[in-house]
Every structure is written in structure tokens, then in C-alpha cells.
Amino acid sequence: MITKQERRYQHGITATIMILVVLTLSPFVLLLMSSISSESSLIRNGYQFWPQTFSLDAYKYILRNSDTILKAYGLTIATTAVGTLMSLFLTITLAYPLSRKSLKGRNVITFLIFFTMLFHGGVVPSYILWARYLRIKNTFWALVLPNLLINPFHLILMKNYFEHSIPNEIMEAAELDGAGPVGILSYVVLPMGKPIIATVAMFTILTYWNDWTNALYFVSDSKLWSLQILLQNILNNVQFLSKNSQVTSQIGMSVTNIPSVSVRMAIAVLGVLPILILFPFFQKYIVKGISLGAVKE
């Protein structure tokens, strides 16, 4: 039985949530629509949800001048692939031993990792270490190594999952059958830990795809501009695009006939497109990961 009051409540919350969803998604629509507006309609009316005239000139322009963007795309894909694989390797090989209750010293080590979430050395010592002593400025590794490889929060999530969601009996049985730690890791922990590994992998992929701070701090050479930092520099140089040929040649675009107003948005669309396309597939892992983080161990 649904009372009249309950029906009103249901209508009310459904309408509120739908309005919120529309408000949340509409900026993406604006971005997309701006990229397929004609330059003249943009100059006359600005960015709009429904432009007066549509045009694919921005994308055609990008195709003609695709060198820089393709290179940045390739670099970001390489960074994401290498970074995610290395990150998973380091996180799993650390989380699995820490999940074994019999291992001496595991509580101390877990605390030392947890402690890094409470206290940071700060940006300056970290910058000086990576830039001056480890000399990674303007190398590919500048995009991969600093700060992003091990997320202590993910590490602890994974350790807890291995510890509580994989039955200890299975590991002990494998041990009795003569399997060593590496055997147990590859035949028990990896297959049975798939849900948490997939979730952490998704978050790590997003982290590397979206990162722009490592490039901001450690890369000045435009050959090593990832997609995000290329986008950032383009937006930064918006005012100069038409005036300053030095900047535009650095970004690799010819100055003449830039449909600059729509092209900016088109590049941004290309930057976010992979996430939007993959989103339906990985959203369930992301939602699960966020909920996992909420459960305190």
C-alpha cells in the first residue's frame, strides 16, 4: 500500500535528483556543443547549449594540424599504461605480504605507510629531490614516477581485501601443497582479488590520464607535453594565440585561420572523450571503490 503522502515524497525526491543530474551533466553538453558550433555563431552568441549554426571546422582543423595533439595523445597513453602497470606491481607486491597475519613486523610497516597519509614532507623537498638529485626533469619518467606510483589509501584497501575477503584456509591449503608465496600470489590472490585489483586499476588509470601536476613541475620541453598540460598551455595562451606567433609555433599550430574559439573546446572534448566512452564500463568499479573507502577497517 502506498499512501498519498509517500507518493508525494517519491515524486519530490525523484524530481530533485533528476534536476541535480541535469545540472551535473549540462556542462559536458555545453563543452560538446561549443566544439561543434560554427566560429561565426560563437563569435556572435558565445558558447551555447544549442548553437545557431553547426560546423565541424574545429575538428577538421585539428585533423590537419594533428601532429602535436596526436603526439600528446600517444604520450598520455604511454604514461598511463606504464604508470598503471608499475603502480599495480608495486601495490600488489606490497599489499600481499602485509595481508599475511603470520608475517613479523607487518603492523609496523603498515603503520609507516599509513603515516604518510598523515604527514607530508611538502612540495619543496619533494620537488628538489626529484628535480635536482634524481634528475628526472624533462624525461618521460617525470610523468610516471613522482607521487603517483603508490597511493597509500589504495594500498591499505587492497591489503584489507586480501586479508578479509580471501579465505585464509585456501592459502594454507595451497601452502601445504607446497606452493611458495609467489605461487600463492599468482594462483590464489590474483584470481580471487580480481575485484579490488580491477577497482584500484581503474582509479590508477584515471589518475595518470588526468594528471597535469607532474608535467607542470617537471616538464618544460614541449616535446614531453602530455595531453592535459598541452590543453593547459593552450588555455593559458588563449590571449596570445592570435597575436604571439612564438607561442603558437611552440604549440605547433599555424597562426592563420585558427577557428580558435571552437578549436579550444574541440581539443578539450578529445581530452575527455576516452573517459566518457569508457565510463559506462568502469563506473560500477568506481562506485564500489568509493563505497569501499567509506567502510572503516
Partner: protein, 308 residues
Amino acid sequence: MPEKLNKRSIKKNHLVLYLLMVPGLLYILVNNYLPMAGVFIAFKKINYALGIFKSQWVGFRNFKFLFATPDAWIITRNTVVYNVVFLIMETVFGIAVAIMLADMRNQRLARFSQSALILPDLISMVICSYIAFAFLSQENGMLNNTILPFFGLQPVSWYAEKGPWPVILSVVYLWLNIGTTAIIYLSSIVGINKALYESAELDGATRWQQITRITIPCIKPTIVTMLLLSTGTLFYSNFGLFYLIPQNSGMIHDVTATYDTYVYNALMKSNNIGMAAAAGLFQSVVGFILVLIANKITAKVDEDNALF
């Protein structure tokens, strides 16, 4: 078949386990602990020609200079006030959205909605700044071209006017974070025993009474944990939000500068390593002390909710 593993093979297995950890621990050591050891940089006048170890000690001079500048007050005020406002908004709206999502009868629609709401959190801050630009650009922005004229208002140079920025930054922050916060509270709400609501309904409790008497008390542990975690980051800000969305525009510096943008600008733009290090260390130490105090208080009031 041996019933138990003999001691030697246990020892060997443990050795392998320790070896497995070596690469990860090395990374934590280099990436997290070496910079902690490097906090002494804040007490030196760094001269790269001499190296950080041979540079001259200057005691607390970097801190004195930093707190003598008007910037110190601006960045402290902005960082703390924005954090408090963001936290209140995020908690109130996050819980409200979570309750609505949990109560929706059409759970397929609820699941679709929660996915849609987290989308902004998954894109890069650079893309966010493009979207903000599409709204705020003086010549082509939607606000100046469509929305303000509709209400008969004059265009505004958004990147030069201080007034609107607290609102702009709050809106962007909520847009980015409401979904994630709502999911965290939602996962705590779905864990509440359904029988509580059923018996409350039999007793004639209204929806509002169920929310205030059952839902909120039941998710209190999650709220406390979230607030505790936030005290530790009271002096930290989302660098991307405050650096990229205002496009590092100097004219609105007073209302957009925070510790993190200050450290970046001092270190990379004005090459003032000493003050950048001092600001960074101040941030770390205060954050650490705050989280210790907050945890201690929580442990006194309710031991189960303490972090450690």
C-alpha cells in the same frame, strides 16, 4: 604428508615475502620519507650552487619573512575559510542526496543518477577549467552572452572581478564532489537495519522523523570519520581548483590564493625557495597537529570512531 610446514620452509617463505615488498618499500622511502627528512630546507637559505646540505642555516628567518607578508594572512584565511564552507556544504548536501537516492523506489534510476553525479569527479581539473571558461569567458562565455543579457544585466569581466569568486569556486567544488560524498554516505545508509524503519512506520513516524531519529544517528560514525579526515587537510587546498579555474589571474588573487597556489608560485615562478618551503612545512605541521587533536577528542568522546 606433513601435517604442518616445517620451520625451515616457513622461514624461507617469509624471506620471499619480505623480498616481494622491497620495490614498494623503496618507493615509499624515496617518494615519501626522504622529503620528510628534507623539511630542514625551510630553515636554510638555499643556494643550488652549494647544494642543499652546504647552504647556509638561517633559523626561522624564512617563517618570519613569510608571516610578515600580507600574503600569509590572505592564504591562511582563504585556505581555512574555503575548507570550512566546502565541508559544511558537502556534508549537508551529500547526506541529503544520499538519503534521496536510498529512498527512491525506482532503484535503477537511483543507480543511474549516482553514476551521473560522480562523472565530474573523474575528469581532469584542466578540462574543468575549460568548462568554467565556456561559462566565464568575457567575450564568448555563456554568462556574458546569454544568461546576463536575459536578465538585462551588464557583462562582467569574470577573471578580473573578486566578488563572484567565492561563489564560483563553491559551485565548482560542489559540482565536483557531491556525487562522491553522496555515495560514501549512501553506502553507510544501505547498511542500516530495515527493521528499524518498519517499526517506526508502524508507530506512525513521518519520513522526516525517520531521517532525524534513525538515519542520521545510524550514519554518525561515517560523518565523524569524514569530519576527522577533513581536519587533517584544513590547511590544504585542491591545487587544481584554485590554480586552474581562476587561471592564476593576479587580479583576483586576494580571493583565490591558498597555501598550495602560494607554494607553487613561490617555488616555480618567483624562485623563492625558502618561503615556499616555510609555507609548505607550516601546512604539514599544522595539518598533522590538527588531526592528532581531532583524533584524541574523538577517542575521548567515542572510542570506536577514532582513526587510530
